[in-house]
């Protein structure tokens, strides 16, 4: 059962090896892998969801990385390459929606809700009755670094009560 599978795999690997050795002998393309990855990192694979292009193992993504390399070699900037990708494959290749039209919703709604929340919180604070300083019991207060004695006294009281 296993043997034939190994043989198939071996032959596959062998063909892969001989096939790509020829490729490997070609001179290294000018833009480095790092230069390509720096751009690919911020682009998303158009076919596999939520996978950045620099770590996407599919054949299609390999082609896209080659495309980035080619465009870099042609002297295109990062912005130009990104724009090319958007025109070709749609806005979903960007790691964030472009700031236009309906997409503004995503940038505006969370801050607006947060401000509303903060407003509600503030009005709740204001609605709380403020304790008068003399009503506030000092012993219920936070321990004060300057007054360790006080602190120890109350702690002792607490410990006695609990024991």
């Amino acid at each position: 059962m296993k043997r034939p599978l190994w043989i198939i795999l071996l032959t596959l690997l062998f063909t892969a090896l001989t096939g790509s050795v020829a490729l490997a002998q070609e001179p290294q393309p000018t833009p480095s892998d790092d230069a390509v990855n720096a751009i690919a990192k911020e682009l998303f694979c158009p076919v596999c969801e939520n996978t950045p292009l620099d770590v996407c193992p599919t054949e299609a993504c390999k082609q896209w990385r080659a495309l980035i390399r080619q465009q870099l070699a042609e002297g295109k900037t990062k912005d130009e390459i990104q724009r090319y990708f958007v025109v070709q494959y749609g806005a979903r290749v960007l790691s964030e929606p472009p700031r236009e039209g309906l997409n503004w919703l995503i940038y505006v709604v969370p801050p607006v809700l947060f401000v509303i929340g903060a407003g509600i919180l503030f009005s709740v604070f204001r609605s709380w009755k403020k304790p008068l300083p003399e009503i506030a019991q000092p012993e219920a207060d936070t321990p004060q670094p300057g007054g360790d004695d006080n602190y120890i006294k109350s702690l002792e009281a607490e410990l006695r009560k609990r024991d």
């Binding site: 892998d33 193992p57 304790p131 120890i152």
Partner: protein
Amino acid sequence: MIADFGFGILVITFIVSIYGIIAAIYGVTSKTQKWIESARLAMLLTFPLLTAASLSLVYLLVNNHYEVRFVYEVTSRSMPLYLKITAWWGGQSGSLLFWSWLMSAFASAVTLRKWDRDREFLPWVIVVSLLTMTFFLSLNLFFENPFAQLWQTVSGIAAYTFKPQDAILFTPKDGQGLNPLLRHPGMIIHPPMLYLGFVAYVIPFAFAIAALITGRTDDRWIRITRRWSLVAWLFLSLGLVLGGRWAYDVLGWGGYWAWDPVEIAAFMPWLTGTAFLHSVMIQEKRGMLKHWNMLLVILTYSLVLFGTFLTRSGVLSSVHSFAQSAIGPAFFVFIGFTILSSTALLIYRWHELQGETQMTSMLSREALFLLNNLLFMGILVVCFWGVIYPLISELFTGQKVTVGPPYYERATGPLFAGLVLLMGIAPLSAWGHSTIKTLGRAAWKPALAAALTLAAVLVWFAVQSPEQFSNPYIPYAVVGTLFVAITTYITVYEVWRAARARAKATQEIFPLALWRLAGRNRRRYGGYVIHLGVVLMAMGIIGIEMFQTETQRSMAVGDEVAIAGYTVRYDSLSQFPYEDGRWVTRAQVSIFRDGQLIGTLAPRYDLYPDGQPMTIPGVRSTMADDLYVLLINWEGVTADIAPFKIYHNPLVNWMWLGSFIFIIGTMVAAWPDKDPEYQSARERRKAVATSAVD
């Protein structure tokens, strides 16, 4: 045979659950105790029944019964025994059964408690739990039957629950086997932990609903479910951490968290759950915020359901998704029902949920806790909106968009930073009343120490590696580190002061005093430990997120590449088959620092018989940094030239260590107390008013 038995048991459990719901409701309306008792027994009966059904499934999995479709899909002969067992939750239908089983375990455990003082809650807790369970069982029965068998008919082979006419059972020789990515130890325990966390939130929710329905809206429900919500939170945190570790070890992109919609779906209930753990203390100590706590529990449970729905319905596509499935609409209806009915109940009881104490200043601990809640809700809104927006865009403009890490990082970064700072300051403030002066007096020493530490770190960097200052993230890193340092010092100082005071007062030696002090107030000191874990994690996250560097190079044997002070040399490549059928391609690289050999790594990729590759990094891990070397098969590996991708991840181990401490802290806080909850709420509150340490 066993498959039919398992299915039969599922049907019986389903009927028993429905009976339990009806009996409980009838018992309440007719005020007959025996019907409620009967419902309670029905609830308890579901656990042995589901255990039997689960054991049947495990039996089928372990014994290679490939005529059962689920077994065929998730196991194969070459898989070891433990993987065959854990394949139980490796696919949609099995994991739904697993979910029901856990749920019945939790619900049964809670049903077994003493109900003397809370008789009126019992039937409604049963109703809510059984309703949820009935729903999950119905998914198993009508859409995703784990016991469906493969039948050969004239029109081909298909899976059916019952034998179709003129069909013969079809038994494949071997199964397809579990997805290799799921064969990692992290993946074996990550889903059950997450499920445990999800399922355990049913209990607080059930009690909250019971409190709303019965109108008994004092904080009794909170006292009963406090530990449950802590346990649920523990498992959820553990699930998230293990998921991150799995990604780091197996997925081969040098990270642990990708802001993927499904990750976020599991993170959202954690956010509201954390907010709840804090705000619930305000209700316990001060009798305030009753509405808010109800809302948080309902929200948490809704998000649990929503997250499960997202993962399983195919609404969002993601690496984590289960295959497209028919359960989507049913799930949608159930979520809609849960959210709408609990909201309606909450609005109906709103006026009965009034707070008791009102004397509070804006710097009191209540206020700071509410600020903490605001920040958590802010993060939640960012996450929720980021997950939901692609749906909106697709529906209204027809354009698919990606909402990726930059959006989340920019929006949540400041909120997380605020939380870290608050984590230091809030424990200093007193319930009811604090002023700038009292806070300042308690905080100035640690703050000064933090500033000095930061200065020392900056000087060290200026001397050691001044090139780091060109990093655009430096300002954020400085603020982040300052906040982390302040919070760390305040927390440690607080614990130390209290322990020293106790040591003085009781004449105990310091470590013993610390131990006893923590033992007496586990929730507070467990909380401190959790906070220390979080600051460690924060430091690790600052390190890897802001200072990660990477390089990629196709290297011939003997070639070297330099990264972050290290030199990596490619030594050799070997290829060999492994006993379970995968084909391993393994590279050997040497790591040098300052010309000295400091270790070798063996990054590799495994090719599974089904053609699925898996990239396993070679990692040199220290507290200072990780050197994470990938042999990237996707660029084509040959005997002469092998492409490597190398990440330098500073401080990432602080994050793992921090999460470990975090979990320990949660366990300390959640450990059962000796004293039961028999002290009344009011007594406690009085005790608190005169207490200095709590």
